[in-house]
């Protein structure tokens, strides 16, 4: 049954890729199509309000500048709201202003689509903050990521000097993708008993006569964009493990699909832009291959339970249920874990800290790679970066200057890619080392030994990959953690985005080389293999030593 559940969800996802991908392609291809009649009017209003009458294409520099400025403005507004939420309306539970390092961390966390939460939603945020900061940024950060990915795709697949207009992409991402889908998913979730209300928390008296404060609020709407935008920041502290966020297995599947379907359809969108759908499917297959390996690993590891407990005579037939919700069981928890870290959403329906060592390795590894579908847009960009790397290394072996989609990969592209591939391990490993070198960092670690390494590594990996899931167990709301993870999230998001936009800007100018029988083909099974190999050898081996000291050592000593 377990396996069947997994297969059905994966099957539905695969079926969604083509229709959703085609839709997304038409949104950004900027050619007139049927959806214009539905959404065109609202966009025209927005364009005229913001003074965007002519939407000329931008060079990569202008595009990058536009998205950065937009994000900076959003950050400033959000920071102020959080700091002064106590005096602002929409605060029936009378929550005070947020502390400054935590505000910094929270704002960065949401603008970077990370949603690492060092606060607990029910006690730290007013309803107004939940909606004006958290939900607003959940839309804008997803739309930013999506826009940049599309711009990158245009750079790889078109010829000229421009890669699209950021503001147009940004507006369309909202009007045609995230808003309509969010409304749809919200309604479905409400129908499945997820609360959506502005009423204050309910105070109930339990059977024993104690008073219980039951937190509610506009949960369903946040829940939908939380997943659609691969954000992951929950309304409640325990995120999608909370029965109001994720009441039953059906909502669980809906949440899985909402965070997974858009990232999974992006490779198809890429194929459409490249006028070679096979090319898109090759990227998809590489992602899916890695995903299946990870899913199988976490599922098997959790199914076999904790050897230390099993040795004590605990019934192992249920697997390791510690930290998991009984209503989901091993399969739905394992799938959720694999998807949330693959799509770098960061929402959780079980506590990753209590996964078995190898089970816990899976989310960690997926975030370290950040290409297994990956976050909104970023995953595809990263995978294409590995594709360019794979082409560069293996492509030389056919005796030509390596070219991807007919564009030659030359020193400029390699320099920019070098920046991106360097940044990722740097912002994970260096802060991890600093955390272990300083008392400020060490003080927050709740587990000694190998598990402590996993906790710290997980926190920074989650930040760097803009995933945001917490391993939990780390006392992370301290200035040290707020500031370091804040910086890591910032660099993790923007360094690679800007570098990759620059790559797009460089490739878009190149005259494509005609394809001949001497061309290194990137749209076949062999290339899927090369891509997976490149990701594993360059992306994964980097983290092997650290991982060996964390989860692997824990696993080996636990056996």
């Amino acid at each position: 049954m377990d396996i069947l559940q997994l297969l059905i969800v994966i099957g539905v996802l695969v079926l969604l890729v083509k229709p959703l991908g085609s839709y997304v392609y038409h949104v950004y291809s900027n050619e007139p199509n049927r959806t214009d009649r539905v959404f065109g009017w609202s966009e025209r209003i927005i364009y005229s309000v913001i003074g965007l009458k002519s939407r000329a294409g931008m060079t990569w520099k202008k595009y990058a500048l536009s998205f950065l400025l937009t994000n900076i403005v959003l950050v400033a507004i959000s920071y102020l709201i959080l700091r002064f939420q106590g005096g602002l309306p929409g605060n029936p539970n009378n929550i005070g202003g947020m502390e400054q390092t935590l505000s910094f961390n929270t704002v960065i966390s949401f603008i970077t689509n990370t949603n690492l939460q060092h606060y607990s939603g029910e006690t730290g945020l007013s309803y107004f903050s939940q909606m004006a900061v958290i939900m607003m940024m959940m839309f804008t950060s997803a739309a930013t990521g999506f826009s940049v990915a599309i711009a990158f795709i245009r750079g790889l697949t078109s010829k000229g000097t421009t890669i699209g207009n950021f503001f147009e992409d940004f507006v369309k991402s909202h009007t045609r993708i995230f808003l309509p889908l969010a409304v749809l998913v919200t309604l479905v979730l409400v129908a499945l008993h997820v609360p959506q209300t502005f009423d204050p928390n309910i105070t109930a008296t339990t059977l024993e006569g104690a008073t219980q404060n039951i937190a509610i609020g506009p949960v369903a709407s946040l829940e939908s964009i939380k997943h659609l935008g691969t954000n992951g920041g929950g309304f409640f502290g325990v995120n999608s493990a909370h029965p109001f966020e994720n009441p039953n297995p059906l909502t669980n599947v809906i949440e899985i699909l909402s965070m997974w379907a858009l990232p999974a359809s992006l490779p198809y969108v890429f194929g459409r832009f490249a006028k070679n759908r096979k090319q898109g499917w090759v990227i998809f297959s590489a992602m899916m291959t890695l995903f299946l390996v990870f899913l199988a690993t976490v599922y098997t590891a959790e199914l076999h339970g904790n050897p230390a407990l099993n040795n004590l005579g605990v019934d192992a037939s249920q697997g390791s249920m510690e930290g998991k919700e009984v209503r989901f069981g091993i399969a739905q928890s394992a799938l959720f874990t694999a998807v949330t870290t693959a799509a770098t959403t960061g929402t959780v329906n079980n506590m990753h800290d209590t996964l078995t060592p190898i089970g816990g390795l899976v989310p960690l590894a997926e975030m370290m790679l950040n290409v297994v579908f990956g976050g909104k847009g970023v995953g595809l960009i990263n995978m294409l970066m590995y594709a360019i790397l794979g082409v560069f290394i293996a492509g030389l072996m056919v005796g030509r200057t390596p070219e991807f989609l007919g564009r030659k990969i030359e020193p400029r592209e390699m320099k920019l890619i070098a920046i991106a591939i360097l940044a990722h391990p740097f912002i994970i490993l260096v802060p991890t080392a600093i955390a272990f070198l300083t008392d400020l960092g060490q003080g927050s670690i709740s587990n000694a030994g190998f598990h402590g390494i996993s906790q710290v590594l997980y926190e920074y990996t989650s930040s760097a990959a803009n995933n945001g899931s917490g391993f939990e167990g780390l006392a992370d709301n301290t200035p040290f953690w707020n500031i370091t993870t804040g910086l890591v999230m910032l660099f993790g998001r923007y360094i690679s985005m800007i570098a990759m936009l620059a790559v797009a800007g460089s490739l878009v100018r190149k005259q494509p080389v005609p394809e001949t029988s001497g061309t290194f083909r990137t749209d076949n099974v062999l290339f899927t293999g090369i891509l997976v190999g490149t990701v594993l050898i360059i992306g994964a081996l980097t983290f092997l030593p650290a991982v060996v000291l964390g989860p692997i050592a824990e696993y080996l000593t636990l056996r």
Binding site: M397, G399, T401, E410, L437
Partner: protein, 676 residues
């Protein structure tokens, strides 16, 4: 091909390479190669720890540290040796070229008299006289006279070539020797800029610049090195948290094993050796970039004459018209050609022999030969008995016959056309006012060209033939040779338009040429191969010069370019794939003492932590010299399509790169473990 190839294991080259590998240890030189520079710094750190164990508190590990130091030192030396060896052959060749550059005494024209000066005093525009037995003092152009010149100093070809004023064979190179006659030469280059100077600096690799592809690869290797530097540096504090103390030499060993030393050490050797292979092939490439561009070529533009065909149109059949016989036609054709020294003329006599026909050769003695002129478009013989024999273009002969009151046989035109359709050239033969028939002149495709064009097609290269012939003839030759496309009745400016058109579509274009009117096209092409026999303008416009003046060599140059890129890719893949095994050797070894359960990861079952680390390091070092022959020779290349090529190379260098170190490290461990 010439006999200039030298054995790679020439002892002089070897000993010089050994010496150079130590000289290259200079950190300032090493810094240009970031991967090996990191190894060198690591080597120094371990050396200090070995020499000053008291200071570092490493008294108990002096033996181990000393061993690590020695292995690291040899890793650097091996890499230096590879580069020095690759440079060695070029340097040796440069030395022999320099010998031919000694000061030459030149006979400089001053007014009407001749003054003896040293060649280095000659400047552009000076005139010199060079007589039999003298060296030509500088690059120049023959402006008077004709001489045979021995160019073996440059080309290695001992047969002298004819140089004459005017036309496409007027350029002479300094340092070559006039074997007969005397010529007046206008010097075209200032001292230090001559062809031989350029050639010396090219083969010596003195001004070798990294090609774009090399730069890109270097960037990748540098960033991988930095990544592993981060990995190793951060590992120590992380490990310390769980109580694992890591020694600096062990961390350095891990770093050196992980960074791509194999390709980092061989990268420049591959580039130099690739250039050298081109030089050994008697083609002078002006830059490494040109050689790599050759590997990228999509379109090759080839002249028909001289490249695809022999160019000499050979008589291949006699086609008599109504009223004459093949014997009669042959006889008159032979008489018209007996004194004709052109290849066409001689081929008529050859054809007589193969067809076993005879003619009255005795009449020729007192006959006078009428040479071909552009005006008459005929040549022939006036026999002593007054009869005039002519052969030439069909319409010219027709006019000539009509002017003497003759009649035109009704089947002449159709016979002529049938020849043209087959790609041949019809020559009409007449005596006085009678036309006897047609000589079928055929342009013969060089043997083996068809197979080579098929190869090129498999490599994904389109071939376009350019010819001044009419479309019909061009089509026939194109079909016979198997080129993909052709341009008939082409003028020099058509070629440049064709190149521009192909380039606009994204193709890289290669072409060959020798005449002055080829120069713009040679400059426009991505790879322009000029013939050494060609004009100075052509040679200056091109980025490669074939010293043997064989235009079809461009095909091999493409193969060398591809081989160069493939070698680089293969060794990079191999180097990176090696990391998997090295991880499995070193990681468990590092942690095994503190965490005994790590032994599970020791899948090679290496004897002890120390021997595992040393074995991985030794493997990492010795793989460099083991791969030097491959780097120098280039990986085997047979033309085939990219997918097949990729699968094959991935299997050998990708999968091989994963497996080989597992075996190598295990074997080394078996030996190393005996001592530790």
């Amino acid at each position: 091909m010439t006999t200039k190839r030298k054995s790679m294991l020439d002892s002089a080259i070897l000993s010089r390479a050994v010496r150079d590998s130590f000289i290259k240890l200079n950190p300032l030189t090493m810094m240009k190669n970031p991967v090996m520079f990191v190894v060198e710094v690591g080597t120094l750190v371990v050396l200090l720890m070995t020499l000053l164990p008291g200071y570092f508190g490493t008294e108990d590990r002096v033996g181990f540290n000393l061993t690590v130091f020695l292995i690291l030192l040899f890793t650097v030396l091996f890499a230096n040796f590879a580069e020095a060896l690759a440079e060695g052959r070029g340097k040796a060749q440069a030395d022999s070229l320099k010998k031919s550059k000694q000061d030459i005494t030149a006979n400089k024209m001053v007014g009407n008299s001749v003054k003896q000066v040293v060649s280095t005093e000659l400047r552009k525009g000076d005139m010199v006289i060079v007589s039999q037995g003298e060296m030509i003092p500088g690059d120049g152009e023959v402006i008077e006279g004709l001489a045979s010149v021995d160019e073996s100093a440059i080309t290695g070809e001992s047969a002298p070539v004819i140089k004459e004023a005017g036309g496409d064979f007027s350029s002479v190179t300094g340092g070559t020797r006039v074997v007969s006659d005397q010529i007046k030469v206008r010097i075209m280059s200032d001292p230090g800029e001559s062809f031989i100077d350029r050639m010396i600096s090219l083969v010596e690799g003195a001004k070798r610049q990294k090609t774009p592809n090399e730069l890109a690869l270097n960037t990748l290797l540098t960033s991988l090195t930095l990544i592993f530097l981060i990995v190793v540096v951060t590992l120590a504090p992380i490990a310390k948290y769980v109580g694992v103390e890591l020694d600096v030499p062990v961390l350095i060993a891990l770093l050196v094993c992980l960074i791509p030393t194999t390709i980092g050490g061989l990268l420049s050797a591959i580039g130099i050796a690739g250039m050298d292979r081109v030089t050994q092939f008697n083609v002078l490439a002006m830059s490494g970039k040109a050689v790599e561009a050759a590997g990228d070529i999509n379109t090759m533009i080839l002249d028909k004459t001289g490249t695809i065909t022999f160019g000499n149109r050979m008589a291949s059949d006699f086609l008599p018209v109504k009223g004459s016989t093949i014997q009669e036609l042959g006889e008159w054709a032979a008489l018209s050609s007996a004194k004709d020294e052109t290849p066409e003329g001689r081929s008529v006599l050859e054809l007589m022999k193969t067809k076993q026909l005879s003619y009255g050769a005795e009449q020729i003695e007192q006959a006078s030969f009428i040479p071909f002129t552009a005006e008459t478009r005929m040549s022939g013989t006036d026999l002593p008995d007054g009869r005039k024999v002519r052969k030439g273009a069909v319409d010219a002969v027709k006019k000539w016959v009509l002017s003497q009151g003759g009649t035109i046989p009704t089947d002449l035109d159709s016979t002529g056309e049938s020849v043209a359709v087959l790609g041949g050239t019809p020559l009409a033969v007449s005596v006085d006012n009678r036309i006897l028939g047609i000589i079928y002149l055929k342009d013969t495709v060089k043997p083996g060209m068809q197979e080579r064009f098929a190869e090129l097609r498999r490599m994904g290269i389109k071939t376009i033939m350019c010819t001044g012939d009419n479309p019909l003839t061009a089509a026939t030759i194109a079909r016979e040779a198997g080129v993909d496309d052709f341009v008939a009745e082409s003028r020099p400016e058509d070629k440049i338009a064709l190149i521009k058109r192909e380039q606009a579509a994204g193709s890289l274009v290669a072409m060959t040429g020798d005449g002055t009117n080829d120069a713009p096209a040679l400059a426009q092409a991505d790879v322009g191969l000029a013939m050494n026999s060609g004009t100075i303008a052509a040679k200056e416009a091109a980025n490669m010069i074939d010293l043997d003046s064989d235009p079809s060599k461009i095909i091999e140059v493409v193969a060398i370019g591809k081989q160069l890129l493939m070698t680089r890719g293969a060794l990079t893949t191999f180097s990176i794939a090696n990391d998997i095994a090295k991880y499995f050797a070193i990681i468990p070894a590092m942690f095994m003492i503190a965490i005994p359960q790590m032994d599970v990861l020791n899948i090679m079952k290496l004897g002890s932590p120390s021997s595992a680390i040393l074995s991985a390091l030794i493997f990492n070092a010795v793989i460099i010299p083991l791969l030097i022959p491959l780097a120098m020779r280039g990986v085997a290349y047979k033309p085939m399509n990219a997918s097949k090529l990729l699968s094959k190379n991935l299997l050998i260098y990708g999968l091989g790169g994963v497996i080989a170190p597992f075996i190598g490290i295990k074997l080394l461990d078996l030996i190393v473990h005996i001592w530790i």
